[in-house]
């Protein structure tokens, strides 16, 4: 059965050493050294560097000491700017300090970086390099962020593999201490930070050997202390600033040699030799590529392969990028070189060339003499693949008589034609390296199992191993692809697998949607999780898959992993079952050894979670192989049917041509011309996606339904809709379409219908939890129930299509303050990729139902910007009139200011428009002009009337053609009331954006702020924010958050003119709706703080609404509204809208994992913190009661 026996038996040239071989990712490698060589670690979460902070926090929480025997202090700050400030202070007072960051985080550190460098302060910033937000945000890897700090005075050291991350982290620390120059140690975000690889771990003795005590003591001696006071950080004037700035030159001149010496010393310790610039390739190479980061691995491997076939190519890997040592670069450059391509993983629009290219050019010009031809190229932005095929294309380009300069490689640029063509089929993979691809779902545990497999192979066999994992852009139903390589030689392939010797498909439905076998090489093994057994599966496969299996001569195995998982009590988690099959088929380990190793890894991974979990995983492993079958393959090809086109016929061209290929996994093929030039995308595209991720869907019982609208309100994905319709609107309805008499006394003759978009449902069942109508004869049956979709889907699709064509219920017919009526207001936010059962999205949906046609949304980075604006599709959409929310995300930290800017702009445009209307009253007509200027737009009807007037105005303006008419025409829309909603999570509102939020609240401007308070940084994986309640655990608060939750509402209230409401839809939906309406009506700033249950709270989100209720009943989340308008009426502005606590806080808290985890792990701390939290609740309630009972002072 084995197809990799040769690997298993192969001799391994691994270095013989006493050091431990570990299989870890780049982040852990960096944190390993950083934590052990620091005393103060200031952190803030940002992808992809967050795990470095998380490791450090966890290790300190476990009291792991640094190499000097003391446990580093880890402090989470409110932003990266804050982290850099704290770090600066720590460094100035003599501590060894570090931080970890990426992208925008690094940008926020820039001011301090100048200071830290300017004061010659040793420190290392470990950076998982990532794209910058430009036309769009991207969390993936390139060098835009680090290139944006190359001017700060920091030294920059670039590592290109997991091993190098660990090694360079130490070299950087040693060199920084000696040189006094602070270092940015960077590596490629995701590609290196998240690649799992087998490395040799540096031990404490290595660290001690590299760091000279004297340099550390010197750093201590420079510390600020009142015992020997100095002042540092003065203001200097034209007379001396310049000279003072030049004083540091000797340190920068000395730095390269110091790094070189550190590398030498490191080499003598470990045998791994690095240089400031490393050349490899033919000694007499004529063509050389110069590159930094993980791409250096790819280029080196390719050069070696090219030279193997007779070429004379070379590569220089830049390790120390700043200070840039021309001398060292020139030393390694072969004298024979005629052509150089400098590859930059960044883009500087408008520059003479990207930075590394310019540096190399400068070096060569300064050298003088005969100049080789030097070209620059861009590659790999946002983790774009950079493969040997692309490297080959670059060398081929260099061979041309006139090689293209300022080229791009890896994309197709059909606009300015910068891109190089490449032969995608070219590969330099070692045939002895086994390459495995696994297609799974996030929810089925595939990635976790593969991470374990990599560890098993890396640590239990002599093989080298590498794992890299690709996720999609959705938080629910997301597809994962795991890329695993292992073999007898070190693996230097920082790119995805394009020729797999093993392909596993863990979900049968993927065969329809994706070309799963496209990468399978001839004779590869194909393992399929299939509900159909070996006798039946062949007929069930899509014809395309059958053809691929036959043509590629695949060995085909099936297992009904879902059945095995169900029987073992594993639910949908087929991870260990498929892992067992992988080991059994691959033969990388003898079967018994493999099973034993899997069990050990299960014990390691799940042991902490309790015996029951380990037992069921063991049972799954034991049962797996009995259900694994080889499938015999008929010899006759089946024909190919291609991938079905999922782009619905009615989808707009942009969806069909641009978005649909992205959904299908073909976005990499998009040429430049297909992409919008400024990051602008059409709305209303999520509706075409039809993700079909849930096996169940809510089914309506029309007879039982009381038409309360609660299911519609809470549905996080706007899958449930209701309409009130006229009898005749049922004409042409499909068979069985449900509509019953409307239970509105105002509409005695109308019908009511409720419909579900079954294909868009995520199966969260919040609707069922919210439904109050129970069957009196069978109370578990409600007016809406989750039922298997199978057999119902076709009917539901037809019903939904018909429903969508029924005209919307006229907005003016219903009362917008009633939940029952709100259900028929069209949501302009639908089918987002948020987690199933999300607690945030119902609020956003409600916002769009109430005011969507006139709303601008400024969205802070976070979950809401991801499910709101992560490609490929957007959930924001328009109504029948083509109006709807317009949405933008600026940054994480500036969202309040961003929204305020929108408000001021709109106000200014409105003011100017009114001025123009006044000026042009005669031409426009006095009556219309007067009506426009005087319009009362406080109600929706008034807004509609104004729209009609403005339409009339525009008609007139178009006919005029004067300069003023054109000016007014351009801004006439501003005469219709617009609403600016500033939306974001608690990480933004309580922490990084608080300063701005506070300023915006103080501005008095008419902005509305919606804080989706999940009490944790949800999007980056659950780190503590200042909204995190006392006694809950979170990342960076693994011992339980010791401080109480900040009362943002109270802080906002103290301005007096700000409308403030604390709401929880699950506890009181009417209150929520009322607060939205009041906020919208408020003439000044308004803020709604909305309790949002979250996956990071640790319970089944079907209970989200119950927990919202419990949060209110326990006093954790009192509901109130502070409405300054009431003061004008002589009333108390503060209205407490929930009752005094009726249940103990613990009754609420201990339903949630974030609290119970602490109760289990540290019962005493949990008891103490919960007792304090109970006091918080009591004290806050007392204060609120007092505020609510105050008599207002009336004159």
């Amino acid at each position: 059965m084995s197809w990799v026996t040769d690997v298993h038996l192969a001799a391994v040239d691994m270095q013989n050493s006493a050091r431990t071989q570990v299989t870890i990712d780049g982040n852990e490698a960096a944190a390993w050294v950083a934590h052990q060589t620091s005393e103060v670690i200031a952190i803030y979460p940002i992808t992809p560097s967050s795990p470095m902070g998380e490791f450090s926090d966890q290790w300190s929480a476990e009291s792991r000491p640094n190499i000097w025997g003391t446990v580093p202090q880890v402090v989470e700050m409110q932003s990266e700017g804050g982290a850099a400030g704290a770090l600066h202070g720590a460094l100035q007072t003599g501590a060894l300090a570090t931080t970890f960051t990426s992208s925008q985080g690094l940008l926020l550190m820039i001011p301090n970086m100048y200071k830290i460098a300017g004061e010659l302060t040793p420190a290392v910033f470990h950076v998982a390099a990532r794209s910058l937000a430009a036309q769009a945000l991207s969390i993936f890897g390139d060098h835009q962020d680090v290139m944006a700090v190359r001017q700060t005075g920091f030294a920059m050291l670039s590592s290109g593999s997991v091993q190098e991350v660990m090694d360079f982290a130490l070299i950087a620390q040693a060199a920084s201490l000696e040189s006094r120059i602070p270092f940015v140690h960077f590596f490629d975000g995701f590609r290196t930070s998240h690649e799992t690889a087998k490395v040799e771990r540096l031990e404490a003795d290595d660290l001690r050997a590299m760091l000279e005590e004297e340099h550390m003591l010197a750093h201590r001696r420079r510390a600020l202390t009142p015992d020997q006071p100095v002042i540092r950080g003065t203001a200097q004037n034209p007379d001396v600033y310049f000279q003072a700035r030049e004083t540091v030159n000797p340190y920068y001149l000395a730095c390269p040699a110091i790094v070189e010496n550190a590398m030498e010393k490191f080499s003598s310790l470990t045998g791994r030799r690095y240089r400031l610039f490393e050349y490899s390739g033919a000694p007499d190479a004529e063509r050389v590529v110069i590159v930094m980061g993980s791409a250096g691995e790819t280029v080196e491997e390719t050069v070696s392969a090219l030279n193997g076939s007779g070429e004379k190519a070379g590569v220089i890997r830049v390790r120390l990028y700043r200070p840039f040592s021309t001398e060292h670069l020139l030393t390694v450059l072969p004298k024979t070189v005629k052509r150089i391509a400098v590859l930059d993983r960044t883009k500087e629009p408008g520059s003479a060339g990207e930075p590394l290219y310019q540096d190399v050019l400068t070096a060569l010009v300064e050298r003088g003499g005969e100049m080789p031809r030097v070209v620059g190229g861009r590659y790999g932005l946002s983790s774009k693949e950079f493969t040997p095929a692309m490297v080959k294309a670059v060398f081929e380009q260099l061979a041309k008589e006139r090689p293209r300069n300022h080229f791009t490689v890896g994309i197709r640029d059909d606009v300015t034609h910068t891109s190089l063509d490449y032969d995608a089929g070219f590969s330099v993979e070692d045939p002895k390296t086994v390459r495995c691809l696994f297609w799974g779902l996030g929810a089925d545990g595939t990635v976790g199992a593969n991470k374990n497999s990599i560890k098993i192979i890396g640590e239990d066999t002599e093989n080298y191993a590498q794992g890299y994992f690709v996720y999609d852009s959705k938080k629910s139903g997301s597809v994962t692809v795991s890329h695993l390589r292992f073999g007898p030689k070190p693996i230097r392939a920082p790119y995805l697998i394009s020729r797999a010797s093993f392909v596993a498909c863990h979900q049968f439905v993927f065969l329809e949607r994706y070309d799963v076998l496209a990468t399978a090489q001839q004779g590869a093994v194909f393992l399929l999780n299939s509900p159909y057994g070996p006798g039946e599966v062949w007929e069930r496969l899509p014809a395309r898959v059958r053809s691929q299996i036959i043509e590629k001569k695949l060995k085909f195995y099936v297992i009904d992993g879902d059945q095995v998982a169900r029987e073992a009590g594993m639910g949908s988690r087929i991870n260990t079952i498929m892992q067992t099959c992988f080991f059994a088929i691959s033969g990388v380990l003898p079967r018994d050894e493999a099973i034993a190793a899997i069990k050990v890894s299960i014990e390691k991974t799940y042991g902490k979670r309790g015996e029951a979990v380990v037992r069921k995983n063991f049972a799954a492993v034991d049962a797996a192989l009995d259900h694994l079958y080889a499938v015999s393959i008929p010899a006759v090809p089946a024909g190919a049917d291609g991938l079905p086109s999922l782009a619905p016929a009615g989808a707009p061209a942009f969806y069909r041509d641009v978005l649909f290929p992205i959904i299908s996994g073909n976005g990499d093929s998009h040429p430049v011309s297909l992409m919008p030039v400024d990051g602008t995308f059409p709305v209303g595209t999520a509706r075409f996606e039809k993700r079909n991720i849930s096996a169940t869907a809510p089914i309506w019982d029309a007879e039982l339904c009381i038409q309360c609208g609660k299911c519609v309100l809470v549905c996080p994905h706007s899958v449930i809709r209701a309409k009130i319709l006229q009898q005749d609107q049922l004409q042409g309805s499909p068979d069985g379409f449900l509509a019953v008499k409307a239970r509105w006394k105002e509409f005695p003759d109308r019908l009511y219908t409720l419909q579900v978009a079954a294909e868009d449902c995520t199966g969260c069942a919040l609707c069922v939890a919210a439904c109050p109508a129970k069957d009196k004869s069978n109370v578990k049956h409600r007016a809406i129930n989750m039922e298997p979709r199978e057999g119902l889907l076709e009917r539901e699709q037809a019903w939904w299509d018909f429903f969508a064509r029924i005209p919307e219920t006229p907005r003016e017919d219903v009362n917008h303050a009633l939940v029952k009526d709100v259900q028929v207001l069209e949501p302009l936010f639908e089918f987002s990729g948020a987690c199933a059962g999300c607690g945030e999205t119902p609020y956003i949906k409600l916002l769009t139902q109430l005011f969507g046609d006139r709303t601008l949304i400024a969205n802070a980075t976070g979950c809401s910007s991801i499910y709101g604006g992560n490609l490929p599709t957007t959930p924001y959409c328009t109504n029948g009139g083509g109006r709807g929310p317009t949405w933008s995300n600026s940054l994480f930290e500036d969202n309040a200011e961003f929204g305020l800017g929108m408000r001021i702009s709109l106000d200014k445009q409105e003011e100017f428009a009114r001025e123009l209307v006044g000026r042009m009253a005669k031409e426009i007509g006095a009556e219309l002009a007067g009506a426009i200027v005087e319009a009362d737009q406080s109600k929706e009807a008034g807004i509609e009337a104004q729209r009609a007037r403005v339409a009339e105005l525009i008609g007139k303006l178009d006919a005029m053609g004067t300069a003023d008419a054109k000016r007014l025409r351009a801004i006439a829309g501003a005469l219709v009331r617009k609403s600016v909603w500033i939306v974001g999570g608690d990480g933004w509102a309580y922490d990084i954006g608080y300063g701005g939020l506070d300023h915006v609240l103080a501005s008095g401007r008419k902005v509305r702020i919606l804080v989706l308070d999940t009490e944790v940084y949800s999007n980056t994986g659950g780190q503590m924010s200042k909204a995190t309640p006392r006694a809950a655990i979170a990342k960076f608060a693994s011992g339980g958050k010791p401080a109480g939750k900040k009362d943002l509402a109270m802080m906002a209230m103290q301005y007096g003119n700000v409308y403030v409401a604390r709401i929880a839809m699950g506890a009181n939906d009417t209150h929520t709706v009322k607060a939205f309406l009041e906020a919208e009506a408020h003439p000044g700033p308004a803020i709604l703080i909305a309790y949002s249950h979250c996956i990071a709270h640790g319970y089944d989100m079907v209970y989200g609404l119950d927990q919202q209720k419990a949060a209110v009943q326990s006093g954790h989340w009192p509901l109130f509204r502070y409405n300054p308008a009431l003061e004008a009426e002589g009333k108390n502005a503060f209205q407490l809208d929930s009752r005094a606590p009726t249940i103990a806080l613990r009754k609420y808290a201990y339903n949630e994992g974030r609290y119970t985890m602490l109760a289990h792990s540290d019962p005493e701390a949990a008891a103490r913190l919960l007792a304090e939290a109970e006091k918080d609740v009591a004290a806050r309630w007392k204060l609120y009661e007092y505020l609510a009972s105050r008599q207002t002072v009336t004159e």
Binding site: F190, G445, G448, Y471, R609, G610, E611, V613, S1038, S1161
Partner: protein
């Protein structure tokens, strides 16, 4: 000097007043206060086998939920060194309880399976507790499982447990058996050192507004003692195992009745929850006063004095009791 001492599970207790398994025991301070109030032995709150399973499942579910799905949030919780899932927390509590008080500490294990249970029992024994009380909380909802089968499972469990641990073994059982004496005998022969009668059950209550079924447990009332007196009196002297009564002990009179029915210990929780731990001291004071007044010199003197075997007229324990109560009820109408 009145001798209040009694022997239970082979241990000499300073009085028959013992704390039955209950939530107060979760605090070491409470256990200390129980000892101070004269409580002669304390049965700890239960280690619930299913609870451990459920906690383990839940922890796994929420640590896995949403993990490894989205590149920015590959997990949502810190990876703690230990979640203390499993019996460790309980075992540590037992150890510390033993260190805290001198009175016998009896662990309590509540479960139904014969798998994990035996392992837990051994771990409990290793903590140094004086005895183990098995609370076999088995509610059959399966229409195909017969009473005989359930009885067989009970005895089998006790037999295996007896082979597994050396410390004295008490078995707390429910009153829902067709033949309690026979069941008692079976358990006695299977190796139980004591039968603790009887368990009280959480029973579902209906919320008429929400149409939901909710678990419900009320503190015991003294009238629940009668059932227990009845069966203690019938069993006394007919099985080797000790008898302890739990459920409905609220006053010194209740303790006296329990002793006279043949119990070696009178265990209580509800009255300590209702009146506070110091109630045990009140109870002892009343007990001594009654015994002085009625010239009893020791507890031992009265143990079993009104049991089935010792009562002059056993019809009160038999069907005659039923007849008489019914007829008097008819008369009162």
């Amino acid at each position: 000097m009145i001798d209040l001492s009694t022997e239970y599970l082979g241990m000499k207790l300073r009085s028959p007043i013992a704390a039955s398994s209950g939530p107060l025991q979760k605090s070491l301070d409470n256990i200390r206060r129980m000892e101070d109030a004269g409580v002669a032995a304390v049965v700890m709150h239960s280690l619930f086998e299913e609870q451990l399973e459920v906690e383990s499942e839940h922890l796994d579910a929420f640590l896995s939920g949403g993990a490894e799905s989205f590149a920015e949030s590959l997990s949502y919780f810190p990876d703690l060194t230990s979640y203390n899932i499993g019996p460790d927390g309980y075992l540590e509590h037992l150890r510390r309880a033993k260190e805290t008080v001198k009175i016998p500490v009896i662990a309590s294990l509540n479960g139904v399976s014969d798998g994990g249970w035996l392992d837990y029992a051994r771990l409990i024994e290793e903590t140094g507790v004086d005895a183990l009380e098995l609370n076999i909380y088995y509610l059959s909802t399966d229409i195909h499982v017969s009473g005989a089968e359930i009885e067989r499972r009970h005895t089998e469990l006790v037999r295996r447990m007896r082979q597994h641990v050396k410390i004295p073994l008490a078995v707390k059982l429910s009153s829902f058996f067709s033949s309690i004496p026979h069941m008692a005998l079976e358990l006695d022969q299977a190796g139980a050192d004591s039968l603790v009668i009887f368990n009280r059950f959480y029973q579902p209550d209906f919320d008429l507004e929400e149409l939901e079924v909710k678990p419900h447990l009320e503190l015991s009332s003294p009238n629940e003692l009668l059932l227990r007196l009845h069966w203690a009196a019938i069993l006394y002297g007919r099985i080797q195992a000790d008898i302890a009564i739990t459920g409905g002990i609220h006053s010194a009179h209740d303790v006296l009745k329990a002793m006279m029915a043949g119990a070696r210990a009178a265990m209580m929780t509800s009255c300590l929850l209702r009146h506070g731990i110091s109630w045990a001291a009140v109870l002892e004071r009343d007990l001594v006063a009654w015994m002085e007044e009625h010239e009893y010199s020791s507890i031992e003197q009265m143990q079993g004095s009104m049991s089935y075997g010792a009562a002059p007229d056993t019809t009160s324990f038999d069907r005659g009791n039923y007849m008489r109560v019914l007829s008097s009820y008819a008369l009162r109408r």
